[in-house]
Amino acid sequence: MRVMVIVPASKESEAGVLPDEKILNEMGKFNEQLVKAGVMLAGEGLHPTSKAKRVRFDGAKRTVTDGPFTESKELIAGFWLWQVKSMDEAVEWLKRAPFGGGVEIVIRPVFETEDFGAAATPEIREREARLRAQVAARQK
């Protein structure tokens, strides 16, 4: 299974303060462990929301707002995508990450095809049918 590990924004990350060398070092080591174990699929850090934009959808209307955004609880500063065998394994890996200071990291399982089950079948069928039709049309 895949999980997304979500690192929340903090006052420092929002202020654009980069982590000091010690933390960067420790994080580098942790990432290296993840790669060596074949767990790391992807991972990125995000710029502060001062560089972000927000698009609001209201009927046909689109409203664009420039950052920074203040509801820091809902903001994220980075994420990883991990390949693990179970949520337990993801938790064990995360426990080894060099965080401190009361930060709370969230692990969320990524949807796999089998999670959709029978519910999505008609939609998938329909999409397959459309694609097949397109392919057939091109072959003519």
């Binding site: 060596k36 174990a37 337990d88 999409r127 097949r132 392919v135 057939a136």
Partner: protein, 435 residues
Amino acid sequence: MTMPDVHGAVDAVWRIESARLIAGLARIVRDVGLAEDLAQDALVAALEQWPASGIPDNPGAWLMATAKHRAIDLLRRDQMLDRKHAELGVALQSRGEAAAPDLEAAMDDDISDDLLRLIFTACHPVLAAEARVALTLRLLGGLTTEEIARAFLAPVPTIQQRIVRAKRTLREAHVPFEVPRETERAGRLSSVLEVVYLIFNEGYAATAGDDWVRPALCEDALRLGRILAELAPQEPEVHGLVALMEIQASRLRARVGPSGEPILLLDQNRGRWDQLLIRRGLAALERAERLGSSLGPYALQGAIAACHARATSPEETDWTRITALYDALAQLTPSPVVELNRAVAYAMAFGPAAGLEIADALLAEPSLRSYHLLPAVRGDLLAKLGRREEAREAFERAAALTHNARERTLLLERAAASVAPAAGRREPGSQADRP
């Protein structure tokens, strides 16, 4: 933490730590089987103690320390305290008392080498392929015997025996716990790669059972491949194999229809291909190409898979390049199966007649006599050439030969479609599915 929580956590710790643990122990006791037993004993101790004491801050170090104590106990109990073992016991004890950070730092430096030794040992050619597969999943993948049995639809005792016998064979053959020397390295490495790819294929094109794919096995193989790429980053074929597996795995979601039926490569919805895995696969292929003066068999197959991955629609596939890659592959590792794939590529690049010529040359090949894909490919090419009755016969023959229930259904459908009235008949894509 409640009891089931601890068990889940212990399982997770085991999956993360077991390979390093076994590898480190094997370096000390010079016996992979004994190392695994010691690691297992430590795991049992963890299951007994952690529910009460809580999970230690560094569970890996805890397991290692426990296993080392067991090693000393075992050596004493077996009264094997001859001079050599006494020295070993003293060495173990003094190591145990040494400042923990130093020991751990030393362990950390060596652990990559130990893991590499462990992989080469588990995949030693003295073992039969199925024994290598089981042992590799067990020692390096951290899978339990039950999980391996489930994955291969085999009874638990069968796998258990397979692993016990494999460990005994290694001991009796005095297989050294080491990375092979330069002279035999290439051969030994291909034995390792073969095992990883066997595991992947068992998940990707299940040879037994009702399911067309078992993604969990693909994930295990991919993880082993990614670990290997970190342990032996200078080996182009390791990256070639990883490229091949990443790109093939990118299609897993698209290969199975809503009711579990197989969807072949050219019929797949490419929007459902996993772009993350494709990117990773293309990056691995680049590494293989940078490292090697010419591509090896896995890198060539990875390059073929990449041709498909780069095409946003079947029509955009660079079939001419694929035929060139298959020509190279046929030269490097000539085999009837490669020829069959070459036939499919030629048919796509230069028309069905060109493909059928290569495929028909294989009819006399004894090793393909019961291989369902030969008649399946011929059926497809014959149908395209309008030789409908021959096509039906070929598809029926293929259906009779396959062991996979889903595939049989598909082939019988195609047999019926071959002779059905042409009006409104959709020509399903070619059998070209791999790599």
